[in-house]
Amino acid sequence: MTEMKLSYAKNSEVAGVADKNTTVWTKKDLLGLEYLSKEEIELILDDAESFKEVLARPLRKVPTLRGKTIVNLFYEPSTRTRISFELAAKRLSADVINIVKEGSSIQKGETLIDTGRNLEALKADIIVVRHNCSGAAMMLSRALNISVVNAGDGWHEHPTQALLDIFTLREKLKNIRGINVSIIGDIAHSRVARSNIWGLTKLGASVTVCAPKELIPSGIEKMKVKVTDSIDEAIKDADAINVLRMQFERDEAEAFPSKIEYFRTFGVTEERLKKAKKNIIVMHPGPINRGVEMAAEVADGANSVILEQVTNGIAIRMAVLYLVAHAKKGKLV
């Protein structure tokens, strides 16, 4: 037994010393918040606090994942999430490889599983995958022994986005239990909405989803959320609103309102926020369509935490990479 093992063994015996989470992370992957317990979500948030401290150091880098290789496998373009994961990996001293669809074998018809198996054969340790198909991350994780982190799969989940949203809320409000959060926008096609619903409800928040009726997916109320198609209703009692990006570039010919029509009926404006709680927190996963889902004045306003979300995203992703890289296998003493 080494000295360090000893000191930590002792430490864990006095749980609650510094109000820290003593949950043990056992999962090889992060696929979605549906699959995590409340305690596991809180562990990620707690560890992210420590990583946020790392980001404030004069040298914003720790050697924790030195020698590990992390592959960002992106089937969909995404600047923000990819850079955030890349920075998180680099802050942990991992080697990072980025693969984007254009110009790689994945555009030449190689299947997702084949690509994953090749990356595993190349001795990657963690694959961070973004894919336009729901379930892609889970499928990959089943086929591989190495870790898979879901960076967004179809309309299914975007767990790190929801984690950073919840982390930001926790920083501002101290507690998630009992708060009212409204998610506004294209709920039907939003992985951000689904992950937020899972995470927030598990932590005891009360969640309302707000969208035009045709963008409310079937049966959503069974996910323990309130549903409304009135933006004023969604804003009224909210401690925070999370405004989703309206993806007018979506290639499907779905029943979509026009941009102007949408802004008129669902856009978050200063006028509408006057009827809200004074300190309402305004979030957006980005990139923002100014003047579509949100007025520019609101995005830049005093209630907006949009840029803090971006910073917190790195800490969350560091925590996630750290935890999946050190997941404990088997039973614990």
Partner: protein, 433 residues
């Protein structure tokens, strides 16, 4: 050549017979059924404690030959069928090329004659190339042996064409098997619409896509006074419509597949592509309705909708995976497990659903019935045998089924087709013909 099956519990819904009898088979036909038969034959099968029933007739099988012999062939498909207790199958016409001409049927019949382990009947396409545009020559194809017509996999979107094909099939002493799916509603859906699809972020297929076409096709059959058979019924609303039509006297029959009463949409939660089928697995209330419809006779037939797909078609993203699962080897076991073992229906009713009713619908008057003079297509089931359906045991060329490693009670022990013993479970293989 003669075989004597002794002391089995003979179940024959055609004559409402359920009791211990001996069956004598001579020259491919049943020659006598009686108690304690004294006759001596060279071949005697002891069926003590076993169930003896007419062989299963599976109305809905995709054999993939010609065209996709890598997924299934007449040889492999019929071998799989026999090991599942199925003595007759209907081959669906969505092959490459489609079974849309006399020549195509002739070619397939040639393959069947050469390779098939059991009876294979042919279903012809309704339209050329199954494109929903030009009707095939039903009269000539009927003469060549097509029992019914179907563009299975597609629905005829054009109502007038549907009416016309119903009439033409009826005029040729045949009928249509309708795949009911309004593509304008199902669009790019991949699973049942509802909370599970919402959670998974998968595109839903609303039940309307099915039942609105069930309603339409029944209405057209009523108007044209023709027979129609609704394929793979999966939801409660379709059942309600069929039930009403039957009460009104419309000549409608219907089938469902074992997965629709064995699994709910919940089976999709791990994005296992082996749970992706069309129509999709539905909600629990639909599963309950299907079982009730089988019990009360609204649904006449259990058919497998055996749909082999290669690994490359299933080991992909759920959105991209092919629809369908194999089902020949699990049709009977799943029906026993979900319906008989759960006391939903009797063995008698089960045999009616898998053998007598399909024979009646298809006009196979010598099949599905254990009576003197009828075809000796017989299965012997050990109702108490416990067994596990393993991947290695699968006889089909494709392995796309969610039922691997399911435990079953009740196993097909012996299969006799045309008076010949073609399968014994103890040997575990289909005997050489």
């Amino acid at each position: 050549m003669s075989i004597l099956i002794k002391n089995g519990r003979v179940i024959n819904p055609a004559t409402n017979r359920d009791g211990i009898f001996d069956i004598l088979i001579e020259d491919g036909r049943i020659s006598e059924i009686s108690k304690n038969m004294g006759k001596k034959t060279r071949s005697v099968i002891d069926a003590n404690d076993k169930i003896v029933a007419p062989g299963v007739i599976d109305m809905h099988v995709h054999l993939r030959e010609p065209g996709r012999e890598d997924m299934e062939t007449v040889a492999s498909g019929t071998r799989a069928a026999v090991s599942g207790g199925i003595t007759s199958i209907c081959a669906m016409p969505n092959t490459y090329p489609a079974l849309d001409s006399v020549n195509a049927i002739k070619r397939l019949k040639g393959i069947i004659k050469k390779d098939a382990s059991n009876n294979v009947f042919v279903i012809g396409a309704i339209t050329k190339g199954r494109k929903g545009l030009d009707l095939v020559d039903m009269a000539a194809m009927r003469k060549e042996g097509a029992l019914a017509f179907s563009d299975d996999g597609n629905s005829l979107g054009d109502e007038a064409l549907m009416s016309e094909s119903l009439k033409m099939a009826g005029g040729n002493n045949a009928f249509l098997i309708s795949h009911c799916e309004d593509r304008n509603i199902s669009k790019n859906g991949v699973m049942n619409e509802g909370i599970t699809a919402t959670k998974l972020g998968l595109r839903g297929i609303p039940k309307q896509a099915e039942y609105e076409f069930v309603e339409r096709d029944i209405r057209l059959a009523e108007k044209t006074r023709t027979k129609i058979h609704i394929a793979h019924v999966s939801c409660k609303e379709s059942i309600d419509i069929i039930k009403k039509a039957k009460t009104k006297g419309v000549q409608v029959t219907a089938e469902t597949a074992p997965h629709y009463f064995s699994l709910t949409e919940e089976a999709c939660v791990t994005y296992d592509t082996r749970t992706k089928m069309n129509p999709p697995l539905r909600a629990l209330e639909d599963v309950e309705a299907i079982k009730e419809a089988l019990r009360d006779g609204t649904i006449d037939v259990i058919a497998s909708d055996h749909a082999p797909h290669g690994k490359h078609d299933k080991e992909v993203e759920f959105d991209f995976a092919a629809f369908g699962i194999i089902g020949l080897e699990t049709l009977l076991p799943l029906a026993i497990a979900a319906l008989v073992e759960k006391k939903m229906i009797s063995w008698m009713k089960l045999v009616e659903l898998v053998s007598l009713n399909p024979a009646k619908i298809l006009g196979l008057s010598n099949k599905g019935n254990l009576s003197p003079g009828k075809d000796a297509d017989i299965i012997i089931i050990d109702p108490l045998a416990n067994w596990v359906y393993t991947k290695d045991s699968i006889k089909s060329k494709s392995k796309n089924t969610p039922f691997i490693n399911w435990k079953f009670k009740g196993k097909v022990e012996t299969v006799i087709s045309g008076g010949r013993e073609i399968f014994t479970g103890s040997a575990g293989s289909v005997l050489n013909l």
